[in-house]
């Protein structure tokens, strides 16, 4: 079994029994798209809701809309069945509560909204979700049993979804 850890605006696709990890999600969203029967899963660490229309997109995995489309393509390529795909969405926290700079501060919410909308458009059900709040999260997805472990440090907690 291998554990693959990805950074910000990065992605990984793998099969059971591997684990997929990303650390320190704040307003970013950790999104998993998987096929529970073929045991294929892909994790992406999304930074921003939508790709700019007025500039070239250098990294599709940075934006929720383009990342989800790419990720669907990648998990299918890795052997997942289109009609079995499910998703788990984690993150999108509101780290600072300031009322000013609402554009920037509300980015977590917008990230989650766009993920939900785009997943719906692609008819991929969200099997589990843990979003919002004001805590950073580290996540670990098991391609074997499709559980997603979430760790927070403030307050300290570990849970499975």
């Amino acid at each position: 079994m291998a554990t693959h850890t990805i950074g910000i605006a990065d992605k990984i696709v793998s099969k059971a029994p591997d684990k997929l990890v990303t650390l320190g999600l704040g307003s970013c969203v950790g999104l998993v798209i998987y096929d529970p029967y073929k045991k294929v899963g892909g994790l992406v660490h999304i930074m921003l809701p939508t790709a700019p229309t007025n500039a070239p997109v250098t990294n599709k995995f940075k934006f929720a809309d383009t990342a989800i489309e790419e990720m669907i393509r990648l998990v299918l390529q890795a052997g997942a069945a289109r009609n079995q795909l499910k998703a788990k969405v984690v993150g999108g926290a509101h780290m600072f509560n300031n009322s000013y700079q609402t554009d920037v501060m509300g980015i977590g919410n917008r990230n989650v909204d766009v993920c939900q909308r785009v997943l719906k458009e692609h008819r991929i059900p969200i099997a589990a979700q843990d979003t919002g709040g004001s805590s950073g999260r580290s996540i670990e997805f098991s391609c074997e049993d499709n559980t997603l472990q979430i760790r927070t440090v403030s307050p300290k907690s570990v849970r499975l979804i």
Partner: protein
């Protein structure tokens, strides 16, 4: 292609400037929507020097303020500039899961944006205790601060950020107001998400300027990020006659 600029300056140990556009071989544009664009295509050594100098002066003032407050001499080393990717921002903070203290201050008036001061947990604890005149805690993993410690840290942020803003304000003649600091203790990755979230739309690199604050006895590591919006940047540059 549109360009914007953003600075992230940090106090204690490092300073980061995020600029978007192109400089040498690096494509490091970062973005911001619905704002005037600042063309950084012709970004040159002068601009970089300017931001380094701005950072130097701001951090210098902050060091002096810290010296007075802590009653010990604190010195500042000259910054070093380099480019890095988003992912590397958190490695500066010893990994995305390392628990840090983030103090966020909103700025408004001629320059709009925010300033983020990031302190290592142990350093924050040490700093708070020094200000409160309490004996040093044993190093621990506890992420909780008591009310007095939180208040002390907010005050430190107030003084550091206040002197920083005054320096920039004096240098540029721009009016800058600061809000009350907000304190968050969490994973470095989660707190630093704010930076790419604010400006990461167009680019993948940040320009990172290192600054080092030291005293004879110990090093307090902290990171000072000044993050004005793009329009404010343009304004600063214009004001300084180098736009």
């Amino acid at each position: 292609m549109q360009k914007h600029m953003l600075i992230i300056l940090n106090n204690k140990n490092y300073s980061i400037i995020l600029i978007n556009g192109r400089y040498n071989k690096y494509d490091f544009c970062l973005g911001c929507e619905k704002v005037m664009m600042f063309d950084t295509n012709n970004m040159n050594k002068d601009h970089l020097d300017f931001f380094q100098e701005l950072e130097n002066i701001g951090a210098g003032h902050a060091a002096t303020a810290l010296s007075v407050m802590m009653d010990r001499e604190i010195t500042l080393c000259v910054p070093r500039a380099q480019f890095c990717e988003y992912g590397e921002i958190t490695s500066i903070m010893r990994g995305p899961e390392n628990v840090v203290v983030g103090l966020l201050v909103g700025i408004s008036d001629d320059v709009n944006g925010f300033i983020l001061l990031v302190l290592d947990l142990a350093d924050a604890r040490m700093l708070a205790n020094t200000v409160l005149g309490e004996p040093e805690d044993k190093p621990n993993e506890d992420t909780d601060f008591n009310e007095m410690q939180e208040s002390a840290l907010r005050e430190v942020a107030n003084i550091l950020i206040g002197s920083y803003i005054t320096a920039i304000s004096t240098l540029t003649g721009l009016r800058i107001n600061a809000s009350v600091p907000e304190l968050v203790v969490d994973m470095a990755g989660a707190i630093m998400n704010l930076l790419p979230a604010a400006y990461g739309e167009y680019g993948d690199h940040v320009l990172f300027l290192e600054t080092k604050f030291e005293d004879q006895a110990q090093c307090i590591y902290g990171h000072f990020f000044l993050i004005p919006d793009v329009e404010s940047y343009k304004y600063i540059m214009e004001k300084m006659g180098i736009a």
